[in-house]
Symmetry: C2
Amino acid sequence: MKKKRPKFLLNEAFRKHGDRTFLPHLSVDCVIFGFHEGHLKVLLLKWKDGPWCLPGGFIKHKESIDDAATRILKERTGLDAIFLKQFHAFGDPLREKGKRHQEGWISKRFVTIAYYALVDYSKVFPQPDSFSSECTWCDVHAVPNLIYDHKQIMKVALEALQLSLNDHPVGYNLMPLKFTMPELQRLYETILGQSLDRRNFQKRMLALDILVKLNERKTGGAHKAPFLYRFDKKKYDRAVKRGLGAGF
Amino acid sequence: MKKKRPKFLLNEAFRKHGDRTFLPHLSVDCVIFGFHEGHLKVLLLKWKDGPWCLPGGFIKHKESIDDAATRILKERTGLDAIFLKQFHAFGDPLREKGKRHQEGWISKRFVTIAYYALVDYSKVFPQPDSFSSECTWCDVHAVPNLIYDHKQIMKVALEALQLSLNDHPVGYNLMPLKFTMPELQRLYETILGQSLDRRNFQKRMLALDILVKLNERKTGGAHKAPFLYRFDKKKYDRAVKRGLGAGF
DNA sequence: TTTCATTGTGTATATGGTACACAATAGTAT
DNA sequence: ATACTATTGTGTACCATATACACAATGAAA
């Protein structure tokens, strides 16, 4: 189950000579979004005896930055083939204010290329990396102080995600296979930070023609049992590609 | 008028030891859009005895990437305080296929952070850099082969610009102070690559409430003299900030 | 003076978004 | 068992916006 990590990640040589493996001055950070019990979550790491931060890593000398992000995401979550989108590069020379004094390449200034990911919460088993003692989900609206500019990165990621709702359907990567309309609505509401009209939301989603209504209802709740839906993957993918075509 | 460039840019030492000044493995490329005689243009450089490319440069050790982009833009166009937006980082390890064999830091792999800029064509006086023999405008739809992945970068820039039309007004940075409605429409049409209905376009633009209709007409054309408009800068800026609020 | 391409303008229609109310139901409390 | 309560399912009237479309006026050129 658990793969042994390469030694250099664990010892002093990494801090001093990581640039034999990785590009200097460049890092990748991931804002990994999940959705659970009606709340939007992000995956955070806690450094040993240190602050919280976003999961991140470095780019190997012969690796593309997209591949680096995919690799980092897989290491933390065990998932591959999930939705991953580069949204901004952060390159203020003072962004790592308060960086601990260290030696070698790692002590230098880093420009970070940030991605956000949308994953199915229930399929993720958070794995701390070798610098970290914890890796856990945290409610988007109750994030502790993060190291450096990571809170800013999170904020920009959320704004990018919000904007993307107008161009692309969202949900396939965040919801379980079957879900109810209220659950999907809750997802949109937490991403947007505002409540939406129940009936209009449903009309709008159905108009996208990417949902299939099932003949099952979700029982167990304390109230009237809502119908279950699933995404029509083919139509969903087509909608992602061509966009939702608002505006010009 | 012409400032003397630092020597290291011109001699061999730059190729070998530029990393004393600049971050290794990182570059910035700019897709500079202008608009002239009804055509959307990009500013291109031609290497001495070499191919065409986008204006680009490197990031100084204590400089933010935004500042680097601003500096590069100013060097090529003489303009500052113009619209500049980071839109993507390109980091495929093979993106610089066909790179000439050289020594030192410059021979290494580069990840490039790309910006697009919107500038007033008439205010720009293109300046080649020290590697280049020419710096000229080129019609977006008649771009020659470009080095590396620069054509791809341009394509992504144009797509980003197209998308941004739905969220933000465009034109203040691309049009002269006074302009006619058909001219503005032509700008939108060339960015989008499609023609728009004259009357609906006008209604839509006026509905944005960012234009001021002047009591002048543009004479000299071979036909009925169209009215001139200008942007209401305050309202324009407000619209840029809050977005055009389509969708959610 | 005629011609012609272009500009200025308004209306009817379709589409999509918003606001809103009442009956049905699945568990919970008694 | 019964009543209760929060929630779901559904449809319509209204408003805003987008689209399609036609004709008179104008300024230069022939």
